[in-house]
Symmetry: C2
Subunit: 393 residues, 2 copies
């Protein structure tokens, strides 16, 4: 970390900073866990959404990835990733854009509804692997794992569509994000593996020729003692981790790899608070609950010569409006704080904070780019009139 005035001078407004050493280590650790278990490591790139960070995964041996939107699939396909699972029940309104990616990459798809499969069967222009999304208890998307006949019927429907291949079953045990701790996360992960194998056994006994099992989620993959019965894992958040993972005991303080640099714009000693330029549009409104159930949007983290230092829970981001952040800190810290100081904060949920930027600074002194999500969401059909600001009202 360059602590010279030139570096600090360059911080004008909230900018995300990643600890280069920690990011590299987090990637190597998870890759090693997968390698040791002999399973395919297909990391979810929705957290970092950066071709440069993707390069670190490539160095760790990763060849296949997971994304959660067609826009992310395009970005990584354009950055030479050719084996991509789009882990969202496919949005059939993006079929044309999917087909435009045909030449760049193999995009593996998810479905949990016959109409999605029918639309794909009618609309794709090259072969695609299709996973069935299974609901193993999170109750967000997927066919309930107990509804094996429905799963089998959908698998057969996929098989009967010429360009589609039924590839396996995929789940995201998102309920593990509410675990009380690593032990419960590990138990949930084992239970999830059990449910998925139960489904696979049924499919294989029913004449389906092969069926991979794909599991997501950072909590389970970070703490599982066994990956027996799993073909691939798709964790994503572990690249940065965050306060949510820390609060569950899934990572340690030294694994936290993303912070937001924010200037101090107001100092209020009578209430032990400062105001930073750093609001809901800079952090997202994701929160933990701290002491007395008060919201915690971020804690401060120390910056050292080599990267991030200790997390400082005494400096807590407790309030967010659109651009303002209210930070509580002890009186002795207030006394040392000056207008224009820059503080670093680890957010509650790194995926959502990172999505609000198009670049990261690194503690190695660089700047790396990532998807500009707002731009990616602003592409419109050419059928719509564009830039007609003068005639639109």
């Amino acid at each position: 970390m360059k602590h010279d005035p030139d570096f600090l001078k360059s911080i004008h407004f909230p900018v995300p900073l990643i600890d280069s050493i920690r990011v590299s280590r987090n990637i190597r650790m998870m890759a090693a866990r997968a390698e040791k278990a002999g399973i395919f490591f297909r990391p979810h790139f929705k957290t970092h959404q950066s071709a440069a960070i993707a390069g670190l995964f490539r160095k760790a041996g990763v060849t296949g990835i997971t994304v959660s939107s067609v826009a992310m699939a395009r970005y990584f396909a354009e950055n030479n990733w050719t084996d991509i699972t789009l882990a969202f029940p496919f949005n059939i309104r993006e079929l044309d854009e999917l087909n435009r990616l045909d030449k760049l990459a193999d995009i593996h798809l998810l479905a949990d509804h016959p109409d999605t499969v029918n639309a794909l069967a009618d609309g794709v222009t090259k072969p695609h692997n299709v996973f069935i999304k299974i609901d193993t208890g999170y109750h967000r998307s997927g066919i309930l794992w107990e509804q094996k006949d429905a799963i089998l019927a959908l698998a057969r429907r996929i098989e009967s569509a010429g360009l589609l291949t039924f590839t396996g079953i995929l789940t995201h045990a998102g309920h593990s994000y509410h675990s009380s701790g690593p032990e419960e996360a590990a138990v949930l992960f084992r239970e999830t593996i059990g449910k998925m194998n139960n489904v696979r056994d049924f499919l294989l006994h029913s004449g389906i020729s092969s069926c991979k099992i794909s599991l997501g989620n950072t909590p389970g993959c970070s703490v599982a003692d066994s990956f027996d019965g799993v073909d691939e894992i798709r964790p994503g958040n572990f690249v940065f981790y965050d306060l949510m993972q820390l609060s569950m005991g899934i990572c340690g303080e030294n694994d936290l790899a993303l912070a937001l640099l924010c200037p101090v714009c107001g100092i209020y000693p009578h209430r032990n608070e400062v105001v930073i330029l750093g609001g809901a549009v800079h952090f997202s409104k994701e929160q933990l609950r701290g002491k007395e159930q008060k919201p915690v949007f971020a804690y401060a983290i120390e910056l050292t010569e080599t990267g991030f230092g200790s997390l400082n829970r005494e400096i807590c981001l407790t309030g967010l409006s659109q651009e303002h952040g209210i930070v509580q800190m002890p009186a002795k810290q207030i006394q040392k704080t000056r207008i224009g100081d820059v503080l670093a904060f680890v957010p509650a949920h790194s995926c959502l904070t990172a999505d609000l930027y198009a670049a990261y600074l690194t503690t190695a002194g660089g700047k790396i780019s990532r998807i500009n999500s707002v731009s990616a969401r602003s592409v419109q059909s050419p059928a719509l009139p564009e830039n007609n600001d003068s005639v639109s009202f």
Copy 2:
């Protein structure tokens, strides 16, 4: 609203839609309130952040505006707005960028700390009006209104700096966003006016020659029965309103003017839920509390031939992960819903949702642009190495 297949076909993923008629009406109504009261209407543009919508304000007679970031000031200055109040305790790290705006616009500034005033005094390159931010009870930023000596001292410090002019006192009674209803919001607004006049009287009696009073906030400005003792108002949210304002009784259902169009990607009749492509990155995680204190991120709204129809609280966005939204709806509605349908949702907080897009569709059939906030936040000092993705780790 064009309900023909061509229009619906153009919706591929979440896109914000504004009701042209309602936006125009909301603007005219607030402008008329200010005109009737004989006060200056300086609307906050942080909600829409669009030059095209700004044009509607211009038609309603608006000449001066409010913004909350230097990036917004630049955007509107480049769109020919020359009288701009930057309603944030000035971030002294953006002094150079402020000075770069010298030729484009007059930017009026806020301060509540002597160090901010000193930095401005040393750093600005043309004259600026400076308001003192007053804390009238919200406890976010500002000098407490009771600390009149501190306010006077800061006013004198501003006056003693050659290029700065003490212009007045400014407050944002943000605590009115927690009002139980319009009556309480109106009471709070009256109390705020009283506190501000108390401060002004003290300053004028202490030899300060003039002092404007500037008040923000949509709840108070929407319901106040009198603006006596106020020089200007700076409401912003009223242009779109949202569920938060509706829940407080500040607006009616027919005033809701922003919705997000989201495709249905999953249907789960056994739990009366569908999943839309529309998550935290599309809505923001701002929420209300609904029945049994469950989170409400958005309610559906009907689309008619001419614009928005009725709000439908039976179709409720109750869960958000990064890209997924979980929508509860009655069984009879589930039966009518198909994969690929597009539903329209009014978000809890329109300012935060709108900030996630670079364009709006309008029910008049157009598309209008707005600031790309992610791009605006990605400008970096030339001192930093750029695009060095290969050398940054």
